[in-house]
Symmetry: C2
Subunit: 571 residues, 2 copies
């Protein structure tokens, strides 16, 4: 990882260059923020030639540290207009790291509107015309690429949504075995990739040398302790909810505490929650002969994924996740795993963020374009997206555009990005994160669901402190490549993370250095957003969430703006 790959789509040239020293101590989300600040005008048109699309493994990417191979993807967001990092599991980070790239930076824009595939293997870099791949769904794209370049390669692709520059489009990354649809979903990065004329990046890291370790003993000791801690943890271990039920394990509790988005955020609990719960998901999958408890990347000891199959045992989607069950399930009044899975598969194939699209479909239902509880009405809207019809393009551009076009004011979004599956009126810490995160509304930026024993989710006080702590933690996870699920050991013992980093790089970091690093990530992102024109006025939840009580607690979001405005004052 001592080089950067620069892909100039204007000249259709790709060349490796030595890693600039100022990028050396960054990775993943942190590196994206650094590159954006150094190289991209915060005022640029996100889909124009001056924006850059960046793929960056985290600091621990490419190693055998459990759960540490999430791939960060970033750029100036076509959805929010601000800094953007979205990350996904799968094999993309491992392969980019093993090929020796600290980051792949895609620049410029083809003069024509042709499509290309970037093929990267050990000692090979090729840009291949791919016009005949146009319009292909991501499933077919991944399959075709693997047929052509080998089963062992990884495929990072966009679907028709990204090609059509829809700002709800994400980037799809293949992973371990049946896990072919891991999404770097948020912020419209699929549209950014589409604007670069890039249909796919195909990676083959076979034959690449292992990554060097500065202190192999320290590294092995720390990473083993980390893996053991994960396995010993009652939540991430083999008998833990995360392994048994995956992300959907929380749905029942989210519903119980009244924060499960239901019928476009009109209610916080759903009468059919049990039917889309992690428990029912596990039971259904096992009964039908699908898989439960598989990893999305090799070597992950948590192994939280599922392969959701239909009654006949055919895969519909892998993995069916909590946010999708919330946004495409309860949020649309749908209490059937099969309904959600069908919608999810279409989103994956189109290359659409299921959160953004679920929220947009909810807004569409508010506008009378579909009916809550009627899956066919929502499938019909996704078929419009596939067809690129006017209505489909509206939906594909996300919740805010859908609300704008139809005059719907109940749009669950911050900084243009849809709110995930925790209603901030009854989980107010998440409200603070949604409002203040430089990423826009994003649960992965600092999810207070896990901190509800620290602070009452309905209380006003203490939410900013909790959110800040979680936002700093998330910055660390996203910059090292770690999955959110793998946080318990490094949150309780940051030295473990420091040792893994020092073992890998020999930087001699202390816990304080790590904490400073985490802060620097938020500082860089806030600076980029400031230069892009964001102000405190953008750090607000939608007006209706401050005024419309959410059943069953009939709570509104009432953390004072003045408190939120001060959240980063100590950075």
């Amino acid at each position: 990882m001592d080089k950067i790959l620069r892909v100039d789509m204007s000249r259709l040239e790709a060349r490796a260059e030595p890693l600039p020293p100022e990028y050396e101590r960054f990775g993943g989300r942190a590196l994206i923020a650094r590159i954006l600040l150094n190289e991209v005008s915060p005022e640029c048109e996100p889909l124009g030639p001056h924006n850059k699309l960046i793929f960056a493994p985290g600091l621990l990417g490419g190693t055998n540290v459990s759960s540490a191979n999430r791939l960060s993807v970033g750029g100036k967001s076509p959805l929010t207009g601000g800094v953007k990092e979205a990350n996904a599991g799968g094999n993309g980070a491992r392969d980019i790291a093993r090929l020796g790239y600290k980051a792949v930076i895609v620049e410029g824009k083809p003069a024509d509107s042709r499509l290309y595939i970037l093929y990267l293997a050990h000692g090979r870099v090729e840009l291949i015309p791919a016009d005949d791949w146009r319009g292909m769904g991501t499933y077919a794209t991944s399959t075709r690429a693997k047929e052509r370049w080998g089963e062992g390669c990884s495929v990072i692709s966009i679907g028709p949504a990204g090609e059509m520059l829809m700002r709800g489009a994400g980037i799809v990354i293949t992973g371990h075995e049946e896990q072919v649809s891991r999404l770097a979903a948020r912020g419209g990065l699929g549209a950014l990739m589409g604007s670069k004329g890039l249909k796919a990046v195909v990676l083959d890291s076979s034959g690449a040398p292992a990554l060097p370790l500065a202190d192999p003993e320290l590294f092995r000791k720390a990473s083993s302790a980390f893996a053991k801690a994960l396995l010993d943890n009652p939540r991430t271990g083999r008998t833990g909810s995360m392994h048994l039920y995956g992300t959907s394990g929380i749905l029942k509790i989210v519903n119980e505490i009244g924060t499960l988005p239901t019928r476009s955020f009109r209610e916080g609990s759903f009468e059919k929650a049990a039917e889309i719960s992690g428990e029912n998901l596990r039971e259904t999958v096992l009964r039908r002969g699908g898989k439960i408890g598989t990893p999305c990347m090799p070597g992950c000891v948590i192994a939280c994924c599922n392969e959701f199959v239909d009654e006949g045992g055919q895969t519909i989607v892998a993995t069916l996740q909590y946010e999708t069950l919330g946004l495409l399930g309860s949020n649309l009044g749908l209490g059937s795993l099969d309904d959600v899975a069908r919608l999810n598969r279409m989103c994956n194939d189109l290359g659409l963020d299921s959160i953004e699209t679920g929220a947009a479909l909810g807004v569409a239902a508010e506008a009378g374009l579909a009916r809550f509880g009627d899956v066919e009405s929502f499938l019909a809207l996704l078929r419009e997206v596939a067809a690129g019809s006017p209505l489909g393009r509206v939906i594909g551009n996300g919740a805010v555009t859908t609300g704008r076009v139809y005059g719907v004011l109940r749009v669950p979004a911050v900084k243009g990005q849809a709110i995930p599956a925790y209603d901030p009126r009854s989980l107010k810490g998440n409200g603070v994160t949604y409002a203040t995160s430089p990423q826009g509304a994003d649960h992965t930026a600092g999810n207070a669901f896990g901190a509800r024993n620290e602070v009452d989710p309905l209380a006003v006080e203490g939410q900013c402190a909790v959110s800040l702590k979680l936002q700093l933690g998330a910055a660390m996870l996203d910059s090292t490549g770690l999955c959110l699920f793998a946080r318990p050991p490094v949150y309780s013992d940051p030295q473990l993370m420091v040792d893994m980093i020092n073992g890998r790089y020999g930087w001699g970091w202390t816990v304080q250095d790590l904490e400073e690093f985490n802060k620097s990530v938020l500082r860089m992102e806030l600076e980029f957003n400031r230069l892009a024109g964001f102000t405190k006025a953008d750090d607000r939840l939608p007006e209706y969430m401050l005024e419309e009580p959410l059943p069953p607690h009939n709570s509104v979001f009432d953390v004072p703006a003045s408190e939120m405005d001060a959240i980063f004052s100590g950075l």
Copy 2:
């Protein structure tokens, strides 16, 4: 004008209240800015209950000063999200002023989604249910209102576009005789009126007492001198271009200097400019038996309007204006007055801003949804707007939304509002105004076309100084109710304006006081926008205008951002 009418659409109550002293010395645009700062949260949802729709005659409204009865309409803009004032001729300002109202402030929002008409006459204020007016075009609305309330009343209405909360919707005001479609067009104020459930305001000022004059002699002397100066001026007098050709008199020169938007701002001159010129307009109208040189409001000595009729002498539109000829003509590749007039009539009837809609149609053509030069393809798109189809709603929401939905990056807009009919690459002073005006891209905020003898339109230097001077002048005109056409006498002799104000109110203003007043207007607007979240990053032209050379001069917009960022530093 010693009272304010507050119309509470939540409670369906309207009540007059004494004029608050702090509003006393404001009028029109200035009063709107003051009310917004005092009463409306800059962070509010523009179409929600906390925004206010304000109708405010200028300081000279209701008097017999020539050309001084433009009606300012304002609120937080649904299109830009910032401060908004748009004004129009016609009889609205005269009637509101004569009924004694300094402003009509519409607040709240009906709990149901019913429509209402506000009827104001001497001693009468009524809110009348108007659900059976839903979906009516503005022509039919005005006609029906006059049938019901008398030919002498004025009608301020929205069309289907405003009812459907389209952010390209304006507000239509009836005027003198055949001038039934004067638009306070910009910034989506029609959507704001629609969000209040207000289909129309009907005004009957008959029987109302004349407005008091503090110093009748001074007033009469100054207003007579002003009218005489207008008549003596070679441009506004009876042999002047403004009277003979109206606003369209400039089209030929705009084309000659290469700044006429052509085919979605791809070129600055149009091969069929002569056919849509003021000269041909005059000749055509006179030949067909239409009218030329009529006023939009009684008593205007300039009388710049036309009644454009078809070959059979039937009115198509009155008045056909320059900006419309640019945006719905050359911008769409249409070189036929009849084509433009047909599109214009549809816009008027739907209640759509012809600038915003023309720009949106140009973007739509870029997206392949219509063909430059093919009027039927554009009429078809306007029929989609009328039908409220997905595509129609996209177009009706303006250029930025159309570009966003279709992934078109060449969108001529600033702060979300479409650029009028002077391409800023070859009239750079207007580029500065578009970029920096708190109103968003708006030629009436400071049009450098008239200042091209002061500074070369293609030069980089001097544009900010010219723009600032013009923006201050425009603030004065918009706050006193004066038409832009009536500016020469008061620009060359500000004492004339001071005397008219002192004659009316007895404030003892000096020219310095007036200049301070003008500055205060911009200061208030900038402050509202700052609180709404605007920054220097919003004071930018679209990226492509900085890079794509505009024929025939092959110029780009290259006034440095740093210069523009300092434009208001002396305020």
